[in-house]
C-alpha cells in the first residue's frame, strides 16, 4: 500500500471510529436490504416465504459476524487495543502504588538528567550560531596562543585572502557608559565597519554601521546597542536613536539596535553595544590600530567562506599570507600557524574542553539512564515472576503470548512516559532558573540554554527506548511460561540458585552507580585540593577594587598621580593592613604574555626570545599585599620611576629559564621587545597566572611608574568584615572622583573564574553521583524487598524450626549483599580508570587517593545498609505461626 493510500484509509478509519454506532447501524441496514432482495428473488423462484427467508440468511452468512468484521475493518484496532491495554495497566499499577511511584521516580531521574545534559550539549555544541548561513561562518585562530593579530595584520588578511567573502574583526571592550552623568560599566565590542554586513545582520531599530562609515581614526562616533542592553538600560525606548551617550567620557551617537535573536558571535557573552573599531582609541585611551606588533588588538577575525572553499584551503591561504607578513615585518612577528574554527566557542580554545566535558557528561547521564533501566528491568522481571500465575491463567484461557507481551510493554511505556514527563518538567525548571545565571559578577558571561524541538524529540526517543529496554527484560520469562505447570504447581516456584539475568542487571546497575560515586568523590576532593593549593598569592582576607581610569577621562600623567592618590586614600582606612595596585591580578582571565630576551641578544626578533613571560605592572608593596613571597632582593619603591634605571622582580621559573637558577639572578639584566635593558632586583615565588592547570610559567613584575597603565586593580588586605570595608572603599572613591566607575569584590569571589571549570565539573558530577546513589538504593531495596516477600514462607519455616535472626537475615538478604559487593568492586575499578579522564578537567583529581577509595567503599556499604534496612526489619518481624497458617 502506498503512503497516500495508507493515509486515506487511516483517515477514513478515524472518521468511522468517531461514530461507531452510526457505522454499525448503516451496515446492518445494508445487510437487511440485501436479505430482503435475496428473499424476494427466492420467493420468485417458488419458495415459501419462510423457506425463502431461511435460504437467504444461509447464503448471506451470519449478520452479527459480518457486522463484527465490518466494525473491525472500519475501526482502528491498534489504537483500541492500546487504550484497552493502557486502562488495564493503569488498574494494575494502581494496585501497587509503591512500585509505581518508585518506578516513575527512577525513570524521572534518568530521563531528567539526560534531557538537561542534552539540552546543554545542544545549545552549546550542536546548535549553530543564530546568524544567517551559520554553516559557512568561520573564525581564524592561532594554534599556539589565545591572541590573534594586530589591526594592520587584520587589514592585510582581509585584503590579501582569496577564501573569504569578506573578513570582519572585533575586540572586547569594557567601558564606562553614561547617558547623563551616571556612569556604569558596560561590555561591548569594537568591530570593523563591515562587521554587520559580513554577518548579514539587519537592524531591529535605526541603522547599523558599515565599512563606508569608516574615514580614518575616530571618524565614526556611532554606537549600536544590543537588544538585551537596550531593553534593560533604555526600557525598550525607541527614542534612543539619535541620542548621544558617553563612552569613557567620549560622545557617541546611538544609531541602531540589533535584533533580539542576535547575541553576537561568541556564545558565552552577548555584547551590550557595538562601536566601530576606528574609534577604538577613545575607549582604550591608547591607539593600537597602527601597532603591528600588538597581537591583542583583535580578539577575533571571522567571515563566511566563499562557496566551494574548504576550511583547510582557507587556512592554507591565511598561513601563506602570514608567512609573507613574518618575512616583511620580522621584528613584529613570530612564525605561527593558523587554523579555522567556529566563532561561537572561540575555535577550539573553549570549544575543545567544552565539547569534551559535555560529551563526557552526556555519557554519564546516559549511564544513569541505563542504570535506571537496569533497575526497572529487575523490578519488572520480579513482578512478571510474581504475576506468572495471572499470565498462565490468561494463556490457558486462550490469550496469545504476543498480546500479553504487548500489555506488559504498554505498562512499561506508561511508566517510562510518566517518569519521562516528570523528569523533563523538572529539567526544564532547572534550565529556566539557570537562564539568567551569571557565574561571574564581573564578566558578562551567560549562556541561556533554551530547549528546542531537538531536545523534546531526544527526550521522547529516550522515553520510548528506555521503556522498551526495561519492558523487554521479562519477555523471555513470559515466552517460556508453561500455563499447565504453573496452574498446577502455584506461583511459588522454588528460588533458583543459579545466576539470573536479574542478578546481572543488579550488578551492572550497582557498578554504574559505584563509578558515578567514585568519580564525584574524586571531583569533590580535587576541588578541595584546588581551593587550598598555592596560587602564588593569598586570596583570603583581600578585596579587589577595579577602576579603569581612562573610563573617567584620565590621560597621560594624570593617571599615575591619580593612582597614588587612590592608594593613599584607601591606606588611610583604619582597618586596612596594606594596599597595592596591579594592572590585572593573576588568574583573572587576562593575557599579558610578552617575549623576553637574554641581555646578550642583539637581534630582537620574536624567534630569538629566550622565553615568553607574563608581565604584571605593580605598585610598591604589592608582594606583601598580595601575599606573594619574595625570596631574594627587594620590593619596588616609589623611587623606581621614569628617571630611575629600569628594574623588575622575576619569579623563580623566569630565573631558571633565563639565568639557569634563582640563586644569583639579582643584579643581572634581561631585555624586552623594545630593547630596554631591565635589571632584576628581586625574585618572587612561582604562581598560577592564566589558569590553574598551567605548567610553571615565567612571570615578571614591573613597577607602574616605569610602565604606566590605566588599568588599575587595587588589592586591599584587611581582616575587617568585607561588607563594611567595601562601603568604606566606595566612600573614599566617591570623595576622590564621583564619576569613577568601580567594581569591588573579595579576591575569593574573583577566584570563581579560574575555579569555574572545576566547580562546574564538581557540581555536575556531584549531582550525577547523588542520582547514582539514589538509584542504587532503590535498586537494592527493590531486590531485597522482593526477595524477602517472595521467601516469606521459607523464612517463616526456618524461624519456626529455630533459626536465629542472624541466620534469617543471611538467608533473606545474603544474596542482595553479595551482589552489592560484586557490583561495588567492579564499579570501583572502573571508577579508577574513569578518573584519569576527570583529571584533565579537575586539577588534582585522582581516585588513587586512599581517602576516596575508602569513601566510595563506605558510601556503597552505607547505601546497601540503608536500602536493606526496611526489608530486613520486615524479615525479622515475621511471625512464623501466622505465616505458616497463611497458605
Amino acid at each position: 500500500m502506498s503512503i497516500l493510500e495508507f493515509v486515506r484509509v487511516t483517515l477514513s478509519r478515524i472518521r468511522s471510529t468517531l461514530h461507531p454506532r452510526r457505522v454499525d447501524e448503516d451496515f446492518r441496514k445494508e445487510l437487511a436490504s440485501h436479505l430482503e432482495l435475496l428473499t424476494e428473488d427466492n420467493i420468485r423462484r417458488g419458495m415459501t416465504p419462510a423457506e425463502a427467508r431461511r435460504q437467504a440468511c444461509l447464503r448471506l452468512g451470519g449478520v452479527d459476524q459480518l457486522s463484527e468484521i465490518n466494525l473491525e475493518m472500519q475501526g482502528l484496532p491498534f489504537i483500541e487495543t492500546l487504550i484497552q491495554d493502557t486502562r488495564y495497566s493503569w488498574r494494575v499499577l494502581r494496585k501497587s502504588p509503591g512500585f509505581a511511584v518508585t518506578a516513575v521516580l527512577t525513570v524521572a531521574l534518568g530521563i531528567g538528567a539526560s534531557a538537561v545534559v542534552f539540552a546543554a550539549l545542544n545549545a552549546i555544541i550542536l546548535r549553530p550560531l543564530n546568524v544567517p548561513q551559520p554553516e559557512s561562518l568561520y573564525s581564524i585562530h592561532r594554534s599556539d596562543t589565545i591572541a590573534v593579530q594586530s589591526y594592520p595584520d587584520y587589514l592585510d588578511l582581509r585584503d590579501g585572502n582569496r577564501s573569504f567573502e569578506d573578513l570582519a574583526a572585533y575586540n572586547l571592550e569594557l567601558v564606562g557608559l553614561d547617558t547623563d552623568d551616571n556612569p556604569s560599566r558596560a561590555w561591548g565590542i569594537a568591530t570593523s565597519g563591515n562587521y554587520f554586513d559580513v554577518l548579514h545582520i539587519q537592524p531591529y531599530l535605526g541603522r547599523l554601521f558599515h565599512a563606508s562609515d569608516e574615514h580614518g581614526l575616530n571618524s565614526a562616533p556611532y554606537v549600536v546597542l544590543g537588544y538585551g542592553y537596550w531593553q534593560a538600560r533604555f526600557h525598550n525606548d525607541p527614542g534612543v536613536i539619535g541620542l548621544t551617550i558617553q563612552l569613557d567620557k567620549h560622545p557617541f551617537t546611538v544609531i541602531g539596535v540589533t535584533p533580539h535573536q542576535f547575541r553576537g558571535t561568541l556564545l558565552i557573552a552577548s555584547p551590550d553595544f557595538f562601536v566601530p573599531i576606528v574609534n577604538q582609541e577613545q575607549i582604550d585611551a591608547t591607539n593600537v590600530l597602527n601597532d603591528r606588533g600588538n597581537r591583542n588588538a583583535i580578539f577575533m577575525t571571522l567571515g563566511h567562506l566563499k562557496p566551494g572553499v574548504t576550511p583547510a584551503e582557507a587556512a592554507a591561504d591565511v598561513n601563506s599570507i602570514w608567512s609573507d607578513l613574518v618575512k616583511r615585518y620580522p621584528k613584529d612577528h613570530m612564525p605561527s600557524t593558523f587554523v579555522l574554527g567556529r566563532p561561537s566557542l572561540y575555535g577550539d580554545r573553549l570549544g575543545r574542553p567544552m565539547r569534551a566535558f559535555l560529551f563526557a557528561l552526556m555519557l554519564l547521564a546516559l549511564l544513569i539512564l541505563v542504570a535506571a533501566c537496569a533497575n526497572l528491568g529487575t523490578l519488572f522481571a520480579a513482578r512478571a515472576a510474581d504475576r506468572s500465575r495471572e499470565v498462565a491463567l490468561r494463556l490457558a484461557l486462550g490469550a496469545r503470548r504476543l498480546r500479553i507481551l504487548r500489555q506488559l510493554f504498554t505498562e512499561a511505556l506508561l511508566i517510562s512516559s510518566a517518569g519521562g514527563a516528570l523528569g523533563l518538567w523538572g529539567g526544564l525548571l532547572l534550565l529556566r532558573s539557570l537562564r539568567t545565571w551569571q557565574p561571574f559578577p564581573q564578566w558578562p558571561i551567560n549562556i541561556p540554554i533554551t530547549p528546542d524541538a531537538k531536545v523534546y524529540a531526544a527526550a521522547v526517543v529516550l522515553i520510548v527506548v528506555s521503556g522498551l529496554l526495561f519492558g523487554a527484560v521479562p519477555v523471555r520469562q513470559v515466552l517460556r511460561t508453561d500455563p499447565y505447570e504453573i496452574v498446577k504447581a502455584g506461583s511459588r516456584t522454588t528460588a533458583s540458585r543459579s545466576i539470573t539475568i536479574r542478578d546481572l542487571l543488579l550488578v551492572g546497575q550497582i557498578s554504574i552507580c559505584a563509578v558515578l560515586i567514585t568519580a564525584s568523590l574524586a571531583a569533590v576532593r580535587g576541588l578541595e585540593h584546588s581551593l587550598h593549593s598555592n596560587f602564588g598569592f593569598e586570596p583570603q582576607n583581600a578585596m579587589l577594587v577595579n577602576t579603569v581610569l581612562d573610563m573617567a577621562g584620565y590621560r597621560g600623567d594624570q593617571v599615575p598621580a591619580m593612582q597614588k592618590r587612590l592608594l593613599e586614600s584607601i591606606r588611610a582606612i583604619p582597618q586596612v593592613t596594606s594596599v597595592a595596585l596591579v594592572d590585572l591580578p593573576p588568574l583573572n582571565g587576562g593575557v599579558r604574555g610578552g617575549p623576553i630576551f637574554r641581555d646578550e641578544t642583539t637581534d630582537l626578533r620574536p624567534a630569538n626570545a629566550a622565553a615568553t613571560a607574563d608581565m604584571m605592572k605593580v605598585s610598591p608593596d604589592y608582594f606583601r599585599t598580595a601575599g606573594t613571597a619574595l625570596f631574594d632582593g627587594r620590593d619596588f619603591s616609589w623611587h623606581d620611576d621614569k628617571d630611575a634605571p629600569r628594574v623588575a622582580v622575576i619569579n623563580e621559573e623566569f630565573a631558571r629559564k633565563i639565568f639557569g637558577s634563582a640563586a644569583n639572578s639579582v643584579g643581572r639584566y634581561f631585555k624586552i621587545q623594545d630593547g630596554t635593558r631591565i635589571q632584576v632586583v628581586g625574585v618572587a615565588e612561582d604562581g598560577k597566572y592564566e589558569n590553574l592547570t598551567e605548567d610553571p610559567t615565567a612571570a615578571t613584575f614591573l613597577p607602574i611608574l616605569q610602565s604606566p597603565t590605566s588599568d588599575s586593580w587595587l588589592v586591599v588586605r584587611s581582616g575587617a568584615d568585607t561588607q563594611s570595608l567595601a562601603t568604606a572603599i566606595k566612600q573614599r572613591l566617591k570623595e576622590l572622583d564621583s564619576g569613577l566607575p568601580s567594581f569591588i569584590q573579595t579576591w575569593n569571589s574573583a577566584m570563581a573564574l579560574p575555579l569555574f571549570p572545576e566547580r562546574m565539573a564538581t557540581a555536575a558530577l556531584g549531582v550525577l553521583g547523588l542520582i547514582g546513589a539514589m538509584l542504587s538504593v532503590t535498586g537494592i531495596f527493590g531486590m531485597a524487598a522482593y526477595s524477602v516477600g517472595r521467601r516469606k514462607k521459607e523464612l517463616g519455616t526456618r524461624m519456626a524450626l529455630g533459626a536465629q535472626s542472624k541466620q534469617v537475615l543471611q538467608a533473606a538478604l545474603g544474596r542482595s549483599f553479595r551482589l552489592l559487593a560484586v557490583g561495588s568492586v567492579v564499579g570501583l575499578v572502573l571508577g579508577i580508570f574513569a578518573s584519569r579522564v576527570l583529571a584533565s578537567i579537575v586539577y588534582h583529581a585522582t581516585s588513587r587517593d586512599p581517602l576516596i577509595l575508602a569513601g566510595a567503599v563506605l558510601s556503597m556499604f552505607l547505601l546497601g545498609l540503608l536500602a536493606t534496612w526496611i526489608p530486613a526489619q520486615r524479615a525479622l518481624s515475621f511471625d512464623p505461626s501466622v505465616l505458616l497458617r497463611e497458605e
Binding site: 445494508e30 436490504s33 440485501h34 435475496l38 459476524q65 468484521i69 465490518n70 475493518m73
Partner: protein, 112 residues
C-alpha cells in the same frame, strides 16, 4: 510475502472493481449475484464476503457508496466506481494480464 488469503482478497477486490466498471452502479446483492455468475470458486462460502471487499475499496477511495432505491422500490446502498478506481483498475488489469501472460507462456514450455 502476501499470504494466500491476501492474494484472494486482491483478486476479489479486482473483480468487484471490474464489475462496477462494466455494469455501472450496483448494490451489494447485485454485485454478489454477478460475481456468483462469473465464478462459483471465489464466493462459494457466502454472499456476505463481498462486503469486506466493498469496505476496503471505499476506504481506499476507489468506489463510492450512496443510498438509493432499487428497481422494486426498496432502499439499498448503491456502489459506483470513482475516477481513482478506474485508474487503479486499469493499472491492476494490466499487471494481471502481464503476469498471466508470463505464467501462461511458462506453462506452455515443452519439457526437453
Amino acid at each position: 510475502m502476501a499470504t494466500k488469503s491476501e492474494i484472494l482478497q486482491g483478486t476479489l477486490d479486482l473483480m468487484v472493481l471490474k464489475t462496477l466498471e462494466a455494469m455501472g452502479p450496483l448494490h451489494g446483492y447485485g454485485i454478489a449475484l454477478r460475481l456468483e455468475q462469473l465464478s462459483d470458486q471465489v464466493l462459494q462460502v457466502n454472499q456476505g464476503t463481498v462486503y469486506a471487499s466493498l469496505v476496503r475499496l471505499v476506504q481506499k477511495g476507489w468506489i463510492r457508496a450512496e443510498w438509493g432505491t432499487s428497481e422494486n422500490n426498496r432502499s439499498a446502498k448503491y456502489y459506483s466506481i470513482t475516477v481513482r478506481g478506474r485508474k487503479q483498475l486499469a493499472a491492476e488489469a494490466e499487471d494481471w494480464m502481464r503476469i498471466s501472460g508470463v505464467i501462461g507462456k511458462l506453462l506452455q514450455l515443452e519439457p526437453r
